[in-house]
């Protein structure tokens, strides 16, 4: 076979086959590319969630939303530091791997004149805390903490400390919302 002396009929046949080949190859590749872009998202159970600590009754802890949300009813006494040692815990339920988490302030409402501080500390090996402090007229909202590691199948308590101002009005309250960001 000599390409230089290919008859016209054969050239036309080859050209037609080449064109259809290019068409089939490119369309197939395009379909494969669109397949490659198809993602399958599987609903998974969350590894990190809240659990009740032994002091949960003291802090009126209520856990809901598949253990992903919790509310606490805390007290602050005038000029006395009140500590909730183990009211609520954060659990890493993954048996094989650790996860990194951090504490993040979401919102704060309430009269700053009534409080001195409200502090949330996660008892990991490197402790991280959100410390809301008041100078008597305004709150200082803490910045987001750094990530700390939660070991596999381990629970960590969140220690909460409150202190009300000596001149606080009894019955006044503050509402704080914090979030725990999980790095997977």
């Amino acid at each position: 076979m000599n390409l230089k002396v290919l008859p016209a009929k054969k050239s036309m046949k080859f050209l037609a086959l080449l064109l259809t080949s290019l068409l089939i190859a490119s369309v197939s590749a395009a379909v494969y590319y669109s397949l490659d872009m198809t993602s399958t998202i599987t609903v998974a159970a969350n590894d990190i969630y809240f659990t009740l600590g032994p002091d949960n009754a003291t802090a009126s802890v209520s856990i809901f939303n598949d253990n992903k949300s919790a509310t606490l009813g805390l007290s602050a006494y005038k000029n006395i530091t009140m500590t909730y040692d183990d009211a609520i815990r954060v659990r890493n339920n993954n048996t094989g791997s650790s996860h990194n988490v951090r504490l993040r302030s979401v919102s704060l409402t309430g009269n700053a004149a009534n409080f001195i501080y409200i502090n949330f500390t996660l008892q990991t090996s490197t402790k991280v805390s959100l410390n809301y402090t008041s100078d008597g007229s305004s709150w200082t909202t803490p910045s987001t903490t750094s990530f700390v590691s939660l070991s596999a199948s381990t629970e960590y308590a969140i220690v909460i400390e409150t202190k009300a101002n000596a001149t606080a009005t009894t019955g006044q309250s503050a509402t704080i919302e914090i979030a725990i960001d999980v790095e997977l």
Binding site: M1, S21, V31, L35
Partner: protein, 165 residues
């Protein structure tokens, strides 16, 4: 992270091999049946349909099933490449073309296919021991050289000459 190879990649590879076969058999149509290039085009088109079905039933078919029907399609295309090589060597007795075909088409196609299948297995978390990898490379080299040697008319002539003596 490396993006995972989809099982449909083997179908895509099979389509390309069929298209290559179609063009090469068109160039060699004085030595091959005239309808063969068109049959291979149809086979490639069937492979395209294959991928389309996979796309539409992506969630219905599991990974296991998708791998096997795409892999079988690839095997069919490889079998056709080997068959053309055997056709030249055995049926037509055109050793030079058979040797050229084995070295330039059959051997690289099989090697590329083995590479991608091994890569797919690796990405799927399949353990692929080092001795198996070495064995694979060695067997590929031995296969390539032995195909070239056995299809060499001089070697065959010498062997048959020795037997006659």
């Amino acid at each position: 992270m490396a993006s995972a190879l989809l099982p449909e990649f083997f179908a895509l590879l099979g389509i390309d091999l069929f298209l290559m076969l179609s063009l090469l058999t068109c160039l060699l149509d004085d030595r091959m049946p005239k309808a063969l290039p068109y049959i291979y085009q149809m086979a490639a088109l069937a492979g395209f349909g294959h991928i389309l079905v996979s796309k539409n039933f992506f969630t219905v078919f599991g990974d296991y099933m998708r791998f096997w029907y795409c892999f079988i399609y690839l095997l069919v295309s490889l079998a056709n490449i080997v068959a053309v090589s055997v056709y030249f060597g055995v049926a037509k007795k055109q050793w030079t073309i058979a040797k050229f075909w084995s070295g330039a088409v059959t051997f690289p196609s099989i090697l590329i296919s083995i590479f991608f299948v091994a890569n797919y297995g690796f990405l799927q978390g399949m353990s692929f021991p080092l001795f198996l990898q070495i064995a694979l490379v060695l067997s590929a080299i031995i296969m390539g050289t032995s195909v070239a040697i056995f299809l060499s008319p001089e070697v065959l002539r010498n062997r048959s000459g020795r037997k006659r003596r």
